[in-house]
C-alpha cells in the first residue's frame, strides 16, 4: 500500500506540481485568455519568475503565448492548451486520490 502511494507521488506531473506553475494553470483554466499583467497581480509572482514559469509551461505544451499590440503597446497574453487542461485535471485527480477526505 505504502509502495503504491509512493509511486503515485512520484508519478505526479512535476511541471504542474510546482506551486507557481500550479497557480498559473489554475488561473488560465478559469478563463479563455489572460493577460500577463493580470497573472502577475493575481498570483503575486515577480515578473521574472512569472516569465520563467510561463516559459516552462509553454515548453511542456501546457500553455500558449499570444503576443499582440494594444495601440502601440505590446501585450502578452496566455491561453491554456487542451494538453494543459488535461494535465491539470489529471493532477487534481491524483491529488484527490493521494489525500482522501479532501475535495
Amino acid at each position: 500500500m505504502k509502495d503504491q502511494s509512493l509511486k503515485a507521488i512520484l508519478d505526479l506531473d512535476r511541471v504542474v506540481h510546482e506551486p507557481a506553475r500550479l497557480a498559473i494553470l489554475t488561473v488560465l483554466s478559469a478563463a479563455e485568455e489572460v493577460e500577463f499583467l493580470f497573472l502577475l497581480k493575481v498570483t503575486g509572482l515577480s515578473k521574472g519568475n512569472l516569465s520563467a514559469q510561463a516559459q516552462k509551461l509553454e515548453a511542456a505544451g501546457y500553455i500558449q503565448t499570444i503576443k499582440a499590440f494594444r495601440g502601440r503597446v505590446p501585450v502578452t497574453s496566455f491561453r491554456m492548451t487542451d494538453e494543459g487542461r488535461s494535465a491539470l485535471l489529471a493532477y487534481h485527480a491524483q491529488m484527490r486520490a493521494l489525500l482522501p477526505g479532501r475535495k
Binding site: 507557481a20 479563455e32 493575481v42 501585450v75
Partner: protein, 244 residues
C-alpha cells in the same frame, strides 16, 4: 503568493465577468448619449411645433396630433448626430474599457454563460435586430421613391446596419451588445424620418421615449457590474507579492 487555488479561480472568473462593457461604465456612457439624442429630438419636434401656424391651443394632445400629421424633416444637425451615435458609443466604450484594463489587464471569460447578463439569448440577436430593422426601414424609404427617396437616410441606415456587424463580431458580452442595440435603434427612426412622406415623427418620439426606459434597466445592470468590479478590484489589490 496566493495559496488558495479556489480563490484564484474565483477571482479570475469574477474579473472576467465584471470587466466587459467598461466594468458597467459603458452602460452609463450609452445612457448619456441616448439622453443627449433624446433632448435633440424633442428640441427638433417642439421647435417645429412652436413654429407651426395652427390656431389650435398648445396642448400635449395637439402636439401629438401635430407629430402624427405634419410631414417633419429632421434638420441636418440631428441626422448627423443620430448617425454618429452608434459609432461614438462604440469608441467611447472601447476607451473606457482600456482605462478599466490599465491596472489589472484583460481577461476573456472562458464560458459564454458568464457574459449573459441582461439576456440569455445568442450574441447575434442584437446586431441582427439592428440589421433587420435597418434593412426594413431602408426598403420603406426606397419604396417611397415616388415622394423622393432620401439618399442621406438610406446611407445612414446602411451605415448603422454595417456598424452593427462590426460591434456584433467584436463583443460577446450581452450588456455591451444590448447597450449598442439600444443606441442603434432610435437613430434608425431619425434616418427613416428624412423621408418626409413617411410621417415618422410620432414613431420617432415614441421610440425614443421607450428606449429611455430601456436605458434605465441597462443602467441598473451597469451599476451591478461596476459594484462587482470594484469588489474584485479590492480583492486583487489586497494580494501581496510574496515571491522568493
Amino acid at each position: 503568493m496566493v495559496a488558495d487555488l479556489a480563490q484564484l479561480d474565483d477571482l479570475t472568473r469574477r474579473y472576467a465577468r465584471y470587466r466587459p462593457c467598461g466594468a458597467g461604465l459603458g452602460a452609463f456612457w450609452g445612457g448619456v448619449l441616448l439622453m443627449a439624442l433624446t433632448g435633440l429630438v424633442f428640441r427638433w419636434t417642439v421647435t417645429a411645433y412652436g413654429e407651426s401656424s395652427g390656431a389650435a391651443p398648445r396642448t400635449p394632445d395637439a402636439y401629438w396630433q401635430f407629430l402624427r400629421s405634419a410631414p417633419l424633416f429632421p434638420p441636418p444637425w440631428l441626422v448627423l448626430a443620430a448617425a454618429a451615435v452608434p459609432f461614438v458609443a462604440w469608441f467611447g466604450i472601447t476607451i473606457i474599457q482600456r482605462w478599466v484594463d490599465r491596472r489589472f489587464g484583460t481577461v476573456r471569460a472562458a464560458d459564454d454563460r458568464e457574459l449573459r447578463a441582461v439576456f440569455r439569448g445568442p450574441r447575434w440577436i442584437a446586431p441582427a435586430a439592428v440589421g433587420g430593422l435597418a434593412a426594413a426601414m431602408a426598403a420603406r424609404v426606397l419604396f417611397d421613391a415616388a415622394h423622393g427617396a432620401s439618399a442621406v437616410g438610406i446611407v445612414g441606415l446602411l451605415a448603422i446596419a454595417g456598424w452593427a456587424a462590426v460591434w456584433g463580431r467584436r463583443s460577446r458580452d450581452r450588456l455591451t451588445l444590448w447597450v449598442m442595440l439600444t443606441l442603434s435603434i432610435p437613430p434608425l427612426f431619425i434616418m427613416a424620418s428624412t423621408d418626409g412622406a413617411s410621417r415618422m415623427a410620432d414613431a420617432t418620439v415614441g421610440i425614443f421615449s421607450t428606449y429611455v426606459f430601456v436605458t434605465f434597466s441597462l443602467l441598473g445592470h451597469g451599476v451591478r457590474r461596476f459594484r462587482g468590479f470594484l469588489s474584485v478590484r479590492r480583492d486583487l489589490a489586497a494580494i501581496q507579492v510574496m515571491d522568493e
